[in-house]
Assembly symmetry: C2
């Protein structure tokens, strides 16, 4: 896909405005929909521009998990205790080397309220906990563990609680979520201009953003925003040139989680207007070694035959460690007792009656895998893993032949990736420069903005922060004064 360029346009050069609204929202995935709804609720006239023929974006293709907590009615109904403090502790530990404390705080404090807002948009949640594994449930159950809450070291930092809230429909729930949000967008009287790609931001002489330029079926139009423009146009996983420039490692991942629209145009528009883009090298990288969960009893090893992580960590953490720290070279080693056919196809790349045979077949240094298994087994006899801290439940000595290794390399197996970098924003979605100043009139949300969780992704954070901060951006834009 060739990259379409974007640019800023001087307002003095706009001959006429083809339409005018208080707030213009660019992109109608979950973040844009939430922004449009809230801007309208706050009394603004809202125009939403969507490049596809209908809204939905990547959100509608997703699992629909929403990371919420702090004691939501759903958590309570399922018998789980949670608090904003525990959620805050978890996210501060999980969200990378420099977590955005301000955003995490407001996100946790208002998470229960956000759950109620979703109910108000008719998003249904079935009060049943799905216990069988973390991530996206195949059932219509409403609550699931969707991160590293139960795994070392996080389980020692914050009391684990499941926070993946899943709209009630079997399997992928993103479609249902977006159907409900888009219906609410319509109910709130938002004007939708579809099939319209935004390729320019219109700037007033003082640098404030006062409109957009869109292309609709080959025709350009300029649309004026009296109060603000909200960029919610997704990330850049489908823009190879941007991946080369900012996040080349993600190109190794076979599966790119994103709609065509995830070409970074929103981020580039914001940068062209002076916004800083941060966390641009970061991605959410899933390496799903489960289900079945039993496979966590195996050990993940690198090209040196060494373990590198507790295998019961969330698949987003497994992928991050395997790609960023092991060059995408990993194998899951199992014995006859722990082996089970993986739900997501994964080739058996070595089998042997002894670990030494598997080691040889994988071409690992002589003795390396053998000693790794020896040490693992020695501690497994005592039900512990002092090296990486895997939970006792998933520890068992690997001693029953035959032994096998499953391919967990980027080249030979499924890694699913999307980008987490984007425009720097404040807690109301306001776009900021590298100096921390506002770009007046400009907001961003969803993957067009830098994520709450980068790295340290948990399923549901993207839709969670997209809708949550999208709403705040919508309210802020609606409430701001008229622009120059």
């Amino acid at each position: 896909m060739a990259t379409k360029k974007v640019e800023v346009i001087d307002a003095s050069e706009v001959a006429r405005w083809d339409a005018t609204s208080d707030v213009i929202v660019v992109g109608l995935g979950c973040a844009g929909a939430a922004a449009a709804i809230e801007a309208a609720r706050a009394g603004a006239e809202v125009l939403a521009v969507e490049r596809a023929s209908a809204g939905g974006g990547t959100s509608s293709m997703s699992g629909g998990v929403i990371y919420l907590g702090g004691g939501t009615p759903l958590q309570k109904a399922c018998g789980f205790e949670d608090s904003p403090e525990e959620m805050f502790k978890y996210l501060m530990a999980a969200c990378g080397p420099r977590p955005d404390e301000d955003k995490i705080r407001v996100y946790c404090e208002h998470s229960v309220e956000h759950y109620h807002w979703l109910l108000d948009q008719d998003v249904p949640f079935k009060p049943v906990f799905y216990p069988h594994y973390s991530g996206e449930p195949p059932t219509d159950d409403g609550l699931v563990f969707s991160g590293n809450e139960q795994a070392h070291p996080f389980c020692e930092i914050a009391r684990p609680a499941p926070r993946g809230h899943v709209p009630q429909i079997p399997g992928q729930a993103g479609g249902l979520l977006m159907k409900k949000l888009l219906a609410s967008v319509e109910r709130h009287g938002v004007t939708i201009r579809s099939d319209s790609r935004t390729d320019g931001l219109v700037l007033a002489a003082d640098g404030s953003v006062v409109g957009v330029r869109v292309r609709t079926f080959g025709e350009s139009a300029t649309l004026r925003a009296r109060r603000g423009v909200i960029l919610a146009a997704g990330g850049f996983i489908n823009n190879d040139a941007m991946l080369d420039l900012y996040a080349p490692l993600l190109k190794a991942c076979k599966f790119r989680v994103g709609a065509d629209g995830d070409d970074g145009s929103g981020i580039r528009l914001g940068m062209a207007a002076g916004g800083a883009a941060i966390n641009m090298h970061m991605g959410s990288i899933s390496l799903p070694i489960i289900p079945p969960k039993k496979l966590q009893k195996g050990i993940l090893v690198n090209r040196q035959g060494q373990r590198f992580i507790n295998e019961d960590a969330y698949y987003g953490r497994l992928g991050e460690y395997a790609l960023y720290h092991q060059g995408g070279q990993a194998y899951l080693v199992l014995d006859n007792e722990t082996f089970e056919r993986p739900a997501i196809e994964r080739e058996i790349v070595a089998v042997g009656e002894t670990v030494a045979e598997v080691e040889r077949e994988l071409g690992l240094p002589e003795g390396s895998l053998q000693q790794t298994v020896d040490l693992y087994n020695r501690h497994a006899e005592n039900g512990c893993d002092p090296v990486f801290g895997k939970a006792a439940e998933w520890i068992t000595p690997l001693v029953h032949p035959p032994f096998a290794a499953l391919d967990c390399t980027t080249s030979g197996s499924l890694y699913a990736a999307f980008t987490l970098g984007g425009l720097r924003t404040g807690i109301d979605g306001e776009v900021l420069t590298a100096d921390g100043d506002r770009v007046p009139g400009l907001y961003a949300a969803g993957r067009t903005s830098a994520s709450l969780a980068a790295p340290g992704y948990a399923s549901g954070i993207s839709i969670g922060d997209g809708t949550f901060f999208g709403r705040r951006a919508g309210r802020a834009a609606a409430g701001s004064g008229a622009l120059s």
Copy 2:
């Protein structure tokens, strides 16, 4: 140090120009000096703006190593064979997951010419090879290995040749280098405006950069550039806010390699004018476990008691692996035969008659270090290291008690860091947007631009690419037509 903000200024708002020149160079480190000299040689009137009282910048505080090759007279005089092709192969392998092939190609093809240019600026090189270790020689010898050329896997990819060219003076040679370059700047009739901090870029209505605003002793002045502005104002290792935003891991490093001016102002100016900043999370991170070189015979282990790299890799690679992949947690384990007092102070954090004792004292998982040493020793008996590929010369079984561990953690030992991220530029230093378009009239060089080597730093790349691409920027700016 509080961050000073920068901004873009509309040319129509400039009441008067306090001075005018063809080319304005911002910053007089090695990149700015090279740019100024070449712009002047190309016939342009040049004004150089320097925030300190005199030029020199970080370059003058550095080791002064310049990464050159392809068969320079110095390499030949020292008896080493090299070619642009071998140099190209090395840099393509060493310069990260997505090396800038265009820049590396032109850098290698013209490296011999660049050496002669340095001679023309009276920079002296003594035709003697310093063999005792890689990096910066304590003598006045002129040639040294300054990267991973001799280490696995690079020695198998390209024929090793020393490429660290060091100006002739004992110890740190950056001062001499800058003295010579600044003398040449003066000889070429460049006007120098010192004590002047550049805090604004002046943009014409079409977005082209036509001047700068500077602060000199509390007074603002606007300076017009007829043909172009070259930003050569260093990196951002001394800007905590930018480190938090872009490269938080670098903050763990005790020693920051940079002048006060390395506050990212050049990068922020370029971003404000529409330039894209790339590689912003990357740094050069030195973990000098040598000299003496004998210490490479030890093994570097992490908190899991595992090795993670061939210990004979260049100290820039050791630091990168230890910080980025091991969280800055590393120890150098030695036996009585391999131990020697390190030249750079490094605390002994564990001693024992057995490896098990050292393991316990370090608080490593039981058995972990013991098995790592066992495997290492088993292969060391055969003089090989199939796990990480250390060269035979540095391999010996670690079997002579007592055993000791030297502190190589970020918290307890010296890591030296500077930033490698900066403005995206083409091969003539022209600043580019995220879309790959030029910002007319704007150039960048040195650490204000994204580095040739990121990650995969070799000593001498920074001064090498700074002077090389600085020169090209100077010529390009001088040769461009008058701006609007």
